[in-house]
Symmetry: C2
Subunit: 262 residues, 2 copies
Amino acid sequence: MSELIFIGLGLNDEKDITYKGLEKARICDRIFAEFYTACLTGSNIERLSEFIGKEIEVLERKVVEDGQVILDAAKAGRVALLCVGDPMAATTHVDLRLRAFDLGIYTRVINNASILSAAPGLLGLQHYKFGRTITIPFPKEGFRPESPYEILAANKDRGLHTLALLDIDAESDRLMTANQALEVLVNLEERLKKGIVLDSTLVAVVAQAGSENPVVRAGYLCDMMKEDFGPPHHTIVFPGNLHFMEVDALVKLAGAPAGISN
Amino acid sequence: MSELIFIGLGLNDEKDITYKGLEKARICDRIFAEFYTACLTGSNIERLSEFIGKEIEVLERKVVEDGQVILDAAKAGRVALLCVGDPMAATTHVDLRLRAFDLGIYTRVINNASILSAAPGLLGLQHYKFGRTITIPFPKEGFRPESPYEILAANKDRGLHTLALLDIDAESDRLMTANQALEVLVNLEERLKKGIVLDSTLVAVVAQAGSENPVVRAGYLCDMMKEDFGPPHHTIVFPGNLHFMEVDALVKLAGAPAGISN
Protein backbone atom coordinates (compact mmCIF):
# COMPACT_ATOMS: atom_id res chain seq x y z
CA MET A 1 0.00 0.00 0.00
CA SER A 2 1.61 3.21 -1.26
CA GLU A 3 -0.96 5.93 -0.98
CA LEU A 4 -1.06 9.69 -0.52
CA ILE A 5 -4.45 11.25 0.26
CA PHE A 6 -4.81 15.02 0.10
CA ILE A 7 -7.60 15.85 2.53
CA GLY A 8 -9.22 19.28 2.48
CA LEU A 9 -10.01 20.73 5.89
CA GLY A 10 -12.38 23.42 4.67
CA LEU A 11 -12.39 26.95 5.93
CA ASN A 12 -12.52 27.44 9.65
CA ASP A 13 -12.25 24.70 12.27
CA GLU A 14 -11.80 20.95 12.81
CA LYS A 15 -15.46 20.19 12.11
CA ASP A 16 -15.26 21.58 8.57
CA ILE A 17 -13.62 18.36 7.40
CA THR A 18 -15.99 16.15 5.41
CA TYR A 19 -17.18 12.88 6.87
CA LYS A 20 -15.33 11.12 4.05
CA GLY A 21 -12.15 13.02 4.87
CA LEU A 22 -12.47 12.13 8.52
CA GLU A 23 -12.91 8.43 7.72
CA LYS A 24 -9.92 8.47 5.37
CA ALA A 25 -7.68 10.27 7.86
CA ARG A 26 -8.52 7.75 10.57
CA ILE A 27 -7.28 4.81 8.50
CA CYS A 28 -3.97 6.43 7.57
CA ASP A 29 -0.67 5.24 8.96
CA ARG A 30 0.65 8.76 9.20
CA ILE A 31 -1.05 12.13 9.04
CA PHE A 32 0.78 15.27 7.98
CA ALA A 33 -0.60 18.78 7.89
CA GLU A 34 0.62 22.08 6.56
CA PHE A 35 -0.65 25.50 7.57
CA TYR A 36 1.52 27.83 5.51
CA THR A 37 -0.66 28.06 2.40
CA ALA A 38 -3.58 28.87 4.72
CA CYS A 39 -4.39 28.55 8.44
CA LEU A 40 -7.28 26.83 10.18
CA THR A 41 -8.03 30.02 12.06
CA GLY A 42 -10.95 28.71 14.14
CA SER A 43 -9.07 25.74 15.58
CA ASN A 44 -5.61 24.52 16.47
CA ILE A 45 -3.55 21.40 15.98
CA GLU A 46 -4.44 19.93 19.38
CA ARG A 47 -8.16 20.15 18.73
CA LEU A 48 -7.78 18.82 15.20
CA SER A 49 -5.66 15.92 16.40
CA GLU A 50 -8.07 15.07 19.19
CA PHE A 51 -11.04 15.25 16.81
CA ILE A 52 -9.44 12.89 14.29
CA GLY A 53 -8.12 10.75 17.11
CA LYS A 54 -4.61 10.48 15.75
CA GLU A 55 -1.29 12.23 15.98
CA ILE A 56 -0.72 14.89 13.32
CA GLU A 57 2.74 15.91 12.17
CA VAL A 58 2.75 19.58 11.15
CA LEU A 59 5.26 20.28 8.41
CA GLU A 60 7.03 23.52 7.67
CA ARG A 61 6.94 25.10 4.25
CA LYS A 62 10.40 23.93 3.23
CA VAL A 63 9.61 20.33 4.21
CA VAL A 64 6.41 20.29 2.15
CA GLU A 65 8.11 21.91 -0.83
CA ASP A 66 11.02 19.52 -0.58
CA GLY A 67 8.44 16.73 -0.35
CA GLN A 68 10.81 13.91 0.56
CA VAL A 69 9.45 13.27 4.05
CA ILE A 70 5.91 12.93 2.74
CA LEU A 71 6.83 10.87 -0.31
CA ASP A 72 9.03 8.48 1.70
CA ALA A 73 6.18 7.91 4.16
CA ALA A 74 3.67 7.41 1.33
CA LYS A 75 5.93 4.86 -0.36
CA ALA A 76 5.82 2.86 2.85
CA GLY A 77 2.16 3.11 3.70
CA ARG A 78 -1.05 5.11 3.61
CA VAL A 79 -0.47 8.77 4.31
CA ALA A 80 -2.69 11.83 4.54
CA LEU A 81 -1.73 15.44 3.98
CA LEU A 82 -4.28 17.75 5.59
CA CYS A 83 -4.65 21.10 3.81
CA VAL A 84 -6.89 24.04 4.68
CA GLY A 85 -9.57 24.73 2.04
CA ASP A 86 -9.61 22.60 -1.10
CA PRO A 87 -6.31 20.71 -1.38
CA MET A 88 -5.53 21.25 -5.04
CA ALA A 89 -5.99 25.02 -4.99
CA ALA A 90 -2.33 25.35 -3.97
CA THR A 91 0.31 24.74 -6.64
CA THR A 92 2.60 23.11 -4.06
CA HIS A 93 0.11 20.30 -3.57
CA VAL A 94 -0.27 19.74 -7.32
CA ASP A 95 3.51 19.53 -7.56
CA LEU A 96 3.64 17.00 -4.74
CA ARG A 97 0.88 14.96 -6.37
CA LEU A 98 2.82 14.82 -9.64
CA ARG A 99 5.95 13.68 -7.86
CA ALA A 100 3.95 10.97 -6.10
CA PHE A 101 2.65 9.91 -9.52
CA ASP A 102 6.22 9.59 -10.80
CA LEU A 103 7.02 7.29 -7.88
CA GLY A 104 4.00 5.06 -8.53
CA ILE A 105 2.22 6.22 -5.39
CA TYR A 106 -1.58 6.13 -5.63
CA THR A 107 -3.02 9.58 -4.92
CA ARG A 108 -6.50 10.65 -3.96
CA VAL A 109 -8.07 14.06 -3.34
CA ILE A 110 -10.82 14.69 -0.79
CA ASN A 111 -12.32 17.99 -1.87
CA ASN A 112 -13.62 20.62 0.48
CA ALA A 113 -14.82 24.21 0.55
CA SER A 114 -12.47 26.78 -0.90
CA ILE A 115 -12.52 30.51 -0.25
CA LEU A 116 -12.57 30.82 -4.06
CA SER A 117 -16.24 29.83 -4.13
CA ALA A 118 -17.22 30.57 -0.50
CA ALA A 119 -16.41 34.31 -0.50
CA PRO A 120 -18.47 35.19 -3.59
CA GLY A 121 -21.34 33.08 -2.24
CA LEU A 122 -21.35 34.66 1.21
CA LEU A 123 -21.60 38.07 -0.46
CA GLY A 124 -24.41 36.89 -2.72
CA LEU A 125 -22.39 37.65 -5.85
CA GLN A 126 -22.82 35.49 -8.93
CA HIS A 127 -19.84 33.29 -9.67
CA TYR A 128 -20.07 33.53 -13.46
CA LYS A 129 -19.59 37.28 -13.28
CA PHE A 130 -16.10 37.00 -11.80
CA GLY A 131 -13.02 37.71 -13.89
CA ARG A 132 -9.55 36.53 -13.06
CA THR A 133 -8.63 36.12 -9.37
CA ILE A 134 -5.77 38.21 -8.00
CA THR A 135 -3.40 37.78 -5.07
CA ILE A 136 -2.14 40.80 -3.13
CA PRO A 137 1.41 40.20 -1.88
CA PHE A 138 3.09 41.90 1.07
CA PRO A 139 5.21 44.69 -0.42
CA LYS A 140 8.89 43.88 -0.20
CA GLU A 141 12.02 45.70 -1.23
CA GLY A 142 12.21 45.19 -5.00
CA PHE A 143 8.91 43.26 -5.17
CA ARG A 144 5.90 45.46 -5.72
CA PRO A 145 4.14 43.79 -8.63
CA GLU A 146 1.67 45.80 -10.68
CA SER A 147 -0.15 42.75 -12.00
CA PRO A 148 -2.91 42.60 -9.33
CA TYR A 149 -3.82 46.20 -10.15
CA GLU A 150 -3.64 45.58 -13.90
CA ILE A 151 -5.85 42.49 -13.68
CA LEU A 152 -8.34 44.36 -11.48
CA ALA A 153 -8.43 47.12 -14.10
CA ALA A 154 -9.01 44.60 -16.91
CA ASN A 155 -11.86 42.95 -14.98
CA LYS A 156 -13.48 46.30 -14.11
CA ASP A 157 -13.21 47.33 -17.72
CA ARG A 158 -15.35 44.34 -18.66
CA GLY A 159 -17.81 44.88 -15.81
CA LEU A 160 -16.60 41.79 -13.92
CA HIS A 161 -16.14 41.17 -10.21
CA THR A 162 -12.64 40.49 -8.88
CA LEU A 163 -11.76 38.18 -6.01
CA ALA A 164 -8.55 39.15 -4.20
CA LEU A 165 -6.72 36.61 -2.07
CA LEU A 166 -4.37 38.07 0.52
CA ASP A 167 -0.80 37.08 1.20
CA ILE A 168 0.49 34.92 4.02
CA ASP A 169 3.98 35.42 5.33
CA ALA A 170 4.50 32.02 6.90
CA GLU A 171 7.96 32.81 8.23
CA SER A 172 6.78 35.68 10.38
CA ASP A 173 3.33 34.13 10.82
CA ARG A 174 1.61 37.20 9.42
CA LEU A 175 -1.70 37.02 7.57
CA MET A 176 -2.44 40.13 5.52
CA THR A 177 -5.50 42.10 6.59
CA ALA A 178 -7.98 43.60 4.15
CA ASN A 179 -6.84 47.04 5.33
CA GLN A 180 -3.22 46.28 4.43
CA ALA A 181 -4.26 44.89 1.04
CA LEU A 182 -6.32 47.98 0.25
CA GLU A 183 -3.33 50.13 1.12
CA VAL A 184 -1.17 48.16 -1.34
CA LEU A 185 -3.74 48.82 -4.05
CA VAL A 186 -4.11 52.51 -3.15
CA ASN A 187 -0.35 52.86 -3.55
CA LEU A 188 -0.55 51.21 -6.96
CA GLU A 189 -3.39 53.57 -7.89
CA GLU A 190 -1.18 56.55 -7.02
CA ARG A 191 1.46 55.22 -9.37
CA LEU A 192 -0.66 53.85 -12.23
CA LYS A 193 -3.63 56.24 -12.04
CA LYS A 194 -6.36 54.30 -13.81
CA GLY A 195 -9.00 55.57 -11.41
CA ILE A 196 -10.11 52.13 -10.24
CA VAL A 197 -9.11 52.20 -6.54
CA LEU A 198 -10.55 55.47 -5.26
CA ASP A 199 -12.19 56.58 -2.01
CA SER A 200 -15.55 56.10 -3.70
CA THR A 201 -14.79 52.57 -4.99
CA LEU A 202 -17.15 49.88 -3.74
CA VAL A 203 -15.26 47.17 -1.83
CA ALA A 204 -16.50 43.99 -0.13
CA VAL A 205 -14.69 42.01 2.56
CA VAL A 206 -15.24 38.50 3.90
CA ALA A 207 -13.47 37.46 7.10
CA GLN A 208 -13.63 34.28 9.19
CA ALA A 209 -15.53 32.47 6.41
CA GLY A 210 -16.88 29.15 7.63
CA SER A 211 -17.15 30.30 11.25
CA GLU A 212 -20.44 30.70 13.11
CA ASN A 213 -20.39 34.44 12.45
CA PRO A 214 -18.38 35.30 9.36
CA VAL A 215 -17.76 39.00 8.82
CA VAL A 216 -19.35 40.03 5.53
CA ARG A 217 -19.08 43.76 4.80
CA ALA A 218 -19.35 46.06 1.82
CA GLY A 219 -18.89 49.80 1.53
CA TYR A 220 -16.82 52.56 0.02
CA LEU A 221 -13.07 52.18 0.15
CA CYS A 222 -12.47 55.26 2.34
CA ASP A 223 -14.75 53.78 5.01
CA MET A 224 -13.68 50.17 4.61
CA MET A 225 -10.01 51.08 5.10
CA LYS A 226 -10.83 52.22 8.63
CA GLU A 227 -12.92 49.18 9.58
CA ASP A 228 -11.74 46.35 11.81
CA PHE A 229 -12.71 43.02 10.26
CA GLY A 230 -11.41 40.95 13.15
CA PRO A 231 -8.93 38.11 12.86
CA PRO A 232 -7.85 36.79 9.41
CA HIS A 233 -8.27 35.20 6.91
CA HIS A 234 -9.60 38.22 5.08
CA THR A 235 -10.66 38.15 1.44
CA ILE A 236 -11.65 41.13 -0.70
CA VAL A 237 -14.05 41.32 -3.60
CA PHE A 238 -14.15 44.31 -5.93
CA PRO A 239 -17.61 44.25 -7.47
CA GLY A 240 -18.05 44.98 -11.16
CA ASN A 241 -21.46 45.68 -12.68
CA LEU A 242 -24.14 44.56 -10.25
CA HIS A 243 -27.40 42.76 -10.95
CA PHE A 244 -30.23 44.10 -8.79
CA MET A 245 -30.21 40.93 -6.69
CA GLU A 246 -26.50 41.41 -6.07
CA VAL A 247 -27.14 44.98 -4.92
CA ASP A 248 -29.85 43.66 -2.61
CA ALA A 249 -27.44 41.03 -1.24
CA LEU A 250 -24.62 43.52 -0.60
CA VAL A 251 -27.02 45.84 1.23
CA LYS A 252 -28.73 43.14 3.30
CA LEU A 253 -25.99 40.58 3.87
CA ALA A 254 -22.99 42.92 3.88
CA GLY A 255 -24.38 46.21 5.20
CA ALA A 256 -23.51 48.18 2.07
CA PRO A 257 -24.97 51.70 1.93
CA ALA A 258 -28.34 51.81 0.18
CA GLY A 259 -27.98 53.41 -3.22
CA ILE A 260 -24.86 51.54 -4.33
CA SER A 261 -24.90 50.55 -7.96
CA ASN A 262 -21.33 50.66 -9.21
CA MET B 1 -36.14 29.98 16.93
CA SER B 2 -36.52 31.02 13.29
CA GLU B 3 -33.54 29.66 11.44
CA LEU B 4 -32.70 28.57 7.91
CA ILE B 5 -29.38 26.75 7.44
CA PHE B 6 -28.09 26.19 3.92
CA ILE B 7 -25.96 23.05 4.14
CA GLY B 8 -23.62 22.13 1.30
CA LEU B 9 -23.48 18.43 0.46
CA GLY B 10 -20.30 18.61 -1.58
CA LEU B 11 -19.76 16.79 -4.82
CA ASN B 12 -20.58 13.11 -4.86
CA ASP B 13 -22.21 11.13 -2.07
CA GLU B 14 -23.70 11.36 1.41
CA LYS B 15 -20.29 11.26 3.12
CA ASP B 16 -19.15 14.46 1.38
CA ILE B 17 -21.12 16.52 3.89
CA THR B 18 -18.91 18.21 6.47
CA TYR B 19 -18.99 17.08 10.07
CA LYS B 20 -20.36 20.51 10.96
CA GLY B 21 -23.08 20.18 8.33
CA LEU B 22 -24.01 16.76 9.63
CA GLU B 23 -24.28 18.05 13.21
CA LYS B 24 -26.39 21.00 12.12
CA ALA B 25 -28.73 18.86 10.00
CA ARG B 26 -29.31 16.50 12.91
CA ILE B 27 -30.60 19.26 15.19
CA CYS B 28 -33.02 20.69 12.62
CA ASP B 29 -36.76 20.35 12.98
CA ARG B 30 -37.22 19.86 9.27
CA ILE B 31 -34.77 19.04 6.50
CA PHE B 32 -35.43 19.96 2.90
CA ALA B 33 -33.26 19.13 -0.09
CA GLU B 34 -33.23 20.14 -3.72
CA PHE B 35 -31.49 18.32 -6.54
CA TYR B 36 -32.37 20.40 -9.57
CA THR B 37 -29.42 22.82 -9.48
CA ALA B 38 -27.15 19.75 -9.20
CA CYS B 39 -27.53 16.06 -8.32
CA LEU B 40 -25.75 13.98 -5.70
CA THR B 41 -24.80 11.47 -8.35
CA GLY B 42 -22.97 9.00 -6.09
CA SER B 43 -25.84 8.56 -3.64
CA ASN B 44 -29.60 8.75 -3.35
CA ILE B 45 -32.12 10.25 -1.01
CA GLU B 46 -32.61 7.03 0.99
CA ARG B 47 -28.91 6.70 1.75
CA LEU B 48 -28.60 10.39 2.58
CA SER B 49 -31.62 10.25 4.87
CA GLU B 50 -30.35 7.13 6.63
CA PHE B 51 -26.89 8.67 7.06
CA ILE B 52 -28.24 11.86 8.62
CA GLY B 53 -30.78 9.84 10.58
CA LYS B 54 -33.73 12.05 9.73
CA GLU B 55 -36.45 12.33 7.13
CA ILE B 56 -35.60 14.57 4.18
CA GLU B 57 -38.24 16.34 2.14
CA VAL B 58 -37.09 16.69 -1.47
CA LEU B 59 -38.49 19.81 -3.10
CA GLU B 60 -39.16 20.39 -6.76
CA ARG B 61 -37.73 23.38 -8.57
CA LYS B 62 -40.95 25.39 -8.50
CA VAL B 63 -41.36 24.86 -4.75
CA VAL B 64 -37.81 26.06 -4.04
CA GLU B 65 -38.17 29.05 -6.35
CA ASP B 66 -41.52 29.92 -4.84
CA GLY B 67 -39.87 29.53 -1.43
CA GLN B 68 -43.00 29.74 0.69
CA VAL B 69 -42.86 26.15 2.02
CA ILE B 70 -39.28 26.61 3.21
CA LEU B 71 -39.80 30.09 4.63
CA ASP B 72 -42.96 29.11 6.49
CA ALA B 73 -41.14 26.16 8.06
CA ALA B 74 -38.14 28.34 8.96
CA LYS B 75 -40.38 30.93 10.62
CA ALA B 76 -41.69 28.17 12.87
CA GLY B 77 -38.44 26.41 13.73
CA ARG B 78 -34.95 25.40 12.70
CA VAL B 79 -34.81 24.26 9.10
CA ALA B 80 -32.06 22.98 6.81
CA LEU B 81 -31.93 23.15 3.03
CA LEU B 82 -29.46 20.62 1.69
CA CYS B 83 -27.80 21.65 -1.58
CA VAL B 84 -25.24 19.79 -3.69
CA GLY B 85 -21.85 21.55 -3.85
CA ASP B 86 -21.46 24.90 -2.10
CA PRO B 87 -24.91 26.27 -1.25
CA MET B 88 -24.47 29.87 -2.32
CA ALA B 89 -23.16 29.09 -5.81
CA ALA B 90 -26.76 28.95 -7.04
CA THR B 91 -28.64 32.24 -7.44
CA THR B 92 -31.87 30.61 -6.28
CA HIS B 93 -30.36 30.00 -2.86
CA VAL B 94 -29.11 33.57 -2.57
CA ASP B 95 -32.60 34.77 -3.46
CA LEU B 96 -34.12 32.52 -0.80
CA ARG B 97 -31.61 33.75 1.77
CA LEU B 98 -32.52 37.38 1.05
CA ARG B 99 -36.21 36.62 1.44
CA ALA B 100 -35.48 34.90 4.76
CA PHE B 101 -33.57 38.03 5.80
CA ASP B 102 -36.62 40.18 4.99
CA LEU B 103 -38.73 37.96 7.26
CA GLY B 104 -36.28 38.24 10.15
CA ILE B 105 -35.23 34.60 9.85
CA TYR B 106 -31.65 33.93 10.96
CA THR B 107 -29.67 32.32 8.14
CA ARG B 108 -26.45 30.40 8.18
CA VAL B 109 -24.34 28.85 5.41
CA ILE B 110 -22.33 25.64 5.82
CA ASN B 111 -19.84 25.74 2.98
CA ASN B 112 -18.66 22.74 1.05
CA ALA B 113 -16.69 21.79 -2.04
CA SER B 114 -17.84 23.31 -5.30
CA ILE B 115 -17.07 22.05 -8.77
CA LEU B 116 -15.89 25.62 -9.41
CA SER B 117 -12.71 24.98 -7.46
CA ALA B 118 -12.62 21.15 -7.55
CA ALA B 119 -12.47 20.73 -11.34
CA PRO B 120 -9.48 23.03 -11.90
CA GLY B 121 -7.70 21.40 -8.97
CA LEU B 122 -8.28 17.83 -10.13
CA LEU B 123 -6.75 18.79 -13.49
CA GLY B 124 -3.79 20.46 -11.80
CA LEU B 125 -4.62 23.83 -13.38
CA GLN B 126 -3.89 27.03 -11.50
CA HIS B 127 -6.98 28.82 -10.30
CA TYR B 128 -5.66 32.33 -10.82
CA LYS B 129 -5.24 31.67 -14.54
CA PHE B 130 -8.97 31.14 -15.09
CA GLY B 131 -11.08 33.77 -16.82
CA ARG B 132 -14.82 34.02 -16.58
CA THR B 133 -16.79 30.79 -16.09
CA ILE B 134 -19.33 29.82 -18.76
CA THR B 135 -22.46 27.66 -18.72
CA ILE B 136 -23.43 25.61 -21.75
CA PRO B 137 -27.22 25.38 -22.04
CA PHE B 138 -29.18 22.69 -23.84
CA PRO B 139 -30.07 24.16 -27.24
CA LYS B 140 -33.75 24.98 -27.45
CA GLU B 141 -35.93 26.44 -30.16
CA GLY B 142 -35.19 30.17 -30.06
CA PHE B 143 -32.53 29.86 -27.34
CA ARG B 144 -29.05 29.25 -28.69
CA PRO B 145 -27.02 31.89 -26.89
CA GLU B 146 -23.66 32.91 -28.32
CA SER B 147 -22.34 34.24 -25.02
CA PRO B 148 -20.55 31.04 -23.87
CA TYR B 149 -18.61 30.99 -27.14
CA GLU B 150 -17.86 34.72 -26.96
CA ILE B 151 -16.62 34.50 -23.36
CA LEU B 152 -14.47 31.49 -24.25
CA ALA B 153 -12.99 33.50 -27.11
CA ALA B 154 -12.27 36.46 -24.82
CA ASN B 155 -10.57 34.20 -22.26
CA LYS B 156 -8.50 32.42 -24.92
CA ASP B 157 -7.48 35.75 -26.35
CA ARG B 158 -5.96 36.64 -22.98
CA GLY B 159 -4.35 33.22 -22.53
CA LEU B 160 -6.74 32.24 -19.73
CA HIS B 161 -8.36 28.91 -18.91
CA THR B 162 -12.16 28.61 -19.10
CA LEU B 163 -14.33 26.47 -16.86
CA ALA B 164 -17.57 25.35 -18.50
CA LEU B 165 -20.49 24.19 -16.37
CA LEU B 166 -23.03 22.06 -18.17
CA ASP B 167 -26.79 22.43 -18.15
CA ILE B 168 -29.29 20.41 -16.18
CA ASP B 169 -32.77 19.93 -17.48
CA ALA B 170 -34.51 19.11 -14.22
CA GLU B 171 -37.90 18.55 -15.79
CA SER B 172 -36.72 15.73 -18.00
CA ASP B 173 -34.00 14.74 -15.53
CA ARG B 174 -31.26 15.14 -18.14
CA LEU B 175 -27.72 16.14 -17.23
CA MET B 176 -25.71 17.38 -20.20
CA THR B 177 -22.69 15.29 -21.12
CA ALA B 178 -19.35 16.77 -22.11
CA ASN B 179 -19.92 15.34 -25.59
CA GLN B 180 -23.20 17.21 -25.96
CA ALA B 181 -21.64 20.42 -24.67
CA LEU B 182 -18.75 20.15 -27.13
CA GLU B 183 -21.25 19.70 -29.93
CA VAL B 184 -23.05 22.89 -28.89
CA LEU B 185 -19.74 24.75 -29.07
CA VAL B 186 -18.76 23.18 -32.40
CA ASN B 187 -22.06 24.41 -33.81
CA LEU B 188 -21.31 27.90 -32.51
CA GLU B 189 -17.84 27.69 -34.07
CA GLU B 190 -19.42 26.90 -37.45
CA ARG B 191 -21.54 30.01 -37.14
CA LEU B 192 -19.10 32.45 -35.53
CA LYS B 193 -15.81 31.15 -36.97
CA LYS B 194 -13.27 32.51 -34.51
CA GLY B 195 -11.17 29.36 -34.77
CA ILE B 196 -11.30 28.55 -31.05
CA VAL B 197 -13.23 25.25 -31.06
CA LEU B 198 -11.46 23.13 -33.64
CA ASP B 199 -10.58 19.44 -33.94
CA SER B 200 -7.10 20.33 -32.69
CA THR B 201 -8.31 22.33 -29.67
CA LEU B 202 -7.12 21.01 -26.31
CA VAL B 203 -10.05 20.11 -24.08
CA ALA B 204 -10.15 18.72 -20.52
CA VAL B 205 -13.06 16.92 -18.87
CA VAL B 206 -13.76 16.10 -15.23
CA ALA B 207 -16.56 13.64 -14.42
CA GLN B 208 -17.74 12.14 -11.14
CA ALA B 209 -15.66 14.63 -9.15
CA GLY B 210 -15.53 13.70 -5.49
CA SER B 211 -16.01 9.98 -6.16
CA GLU B 212 -13.39 7.34 -5.45
CA ASN B 213 -12.34 7.37 -9.11
CA PRO B 214 -13.14 10.66 -10.77
CA VAL B 215 -12.67 10.70 -14.55
CA VAL B 216 -10.03 13.29 -15.40
CA ARG B 217 -9.18 13.43 -19.10
CA ALA B 218 -7.54 15.81 -21.53
CA GLY B 219 -6.98 15.58 -25.25
CA TYR B 220 -7.82 17.05 -28.62
CA LEU B 221 -11.44 17.90 -29.28
CA CYS B 222 -11.85 15.45 -32.17
CA ASP B 223 -10.82 12.59 -29.86
CA MET B 224 -12.59 13.84 -26.75
CA MET B 225 -15.92 14.11 -28.58
CA LYS B 226 -15.85 10.35 -29.10
CA GLU B 227 -14.93 9.43 -25.54
CA ASP B 228 -17.31 8.08 -22.94
CA PHE B 229 -16.79 9.88 -19.65
CA GLY B 230 -19.29 7.78 -17.75
CA PRO B 231 -22.22 9.12 -15.74
CA PRO B 232 -22.58 12.90 -15.13
CA HIS B 233 -21.88 15.45 -13.72
CA HIS B 234 -19.41 16.38 -16.44
CA THR B 235 -17.43 19.61 -16.42
CA ILE B 236 -15.20 20.92 -19.20
CA VAL B 237 -12.10 23.08 -18.98
CA PHE B 238 -10.63 24.78 -22.05
CA PRO B 239 -7.00 25.42 -21.19
CA GLY B 240 -5.39 28.72 -22.13
CA ASN B 241 -1.63 29.22 -21.99
CA LEU B 242 -0.09 26.43 -19.93
CA HIS B 243 2.69 26.62 -17.39
CA PHE B 244 5.05 23.64 -17.67
CA MET B 245 3.69 22.17 -14.42
CA GLU B 246 0.19 22.40 -15.85
CA VAL B 247 1.33 20.54 -18.98
CA ASP B 248 2.87 17.90 -16.73
CA ALA B 249 -0.39 17.62 -14.76
CA LEU B 250 -2.57 17.28 -17.86
CA VAL B 251 -0.30 14.56 -19.23
CA LYS B 252 0.07 12.62 -15.97
CA LEU B 253 -3.26 13.17 -14.24
CA ALA B 254 -5.49 13.50 -17.31
CA GLY B 255 -3.77 11.34 -19.93
CA ALA B 256 -3.22 14.20 -22.38
CA PRO B 257 -0.99 13.38 -25.34
CA ALA B 258 2.66 14.21 -24.67
CA GLY B 259 3.67 17.28 -26.62
CA ILE B 260 0.63 19.43 -25.82
CA SER B 261 1.44 23.04 -25.22
CA ASN B 262 -1.51 25.04 -26.48
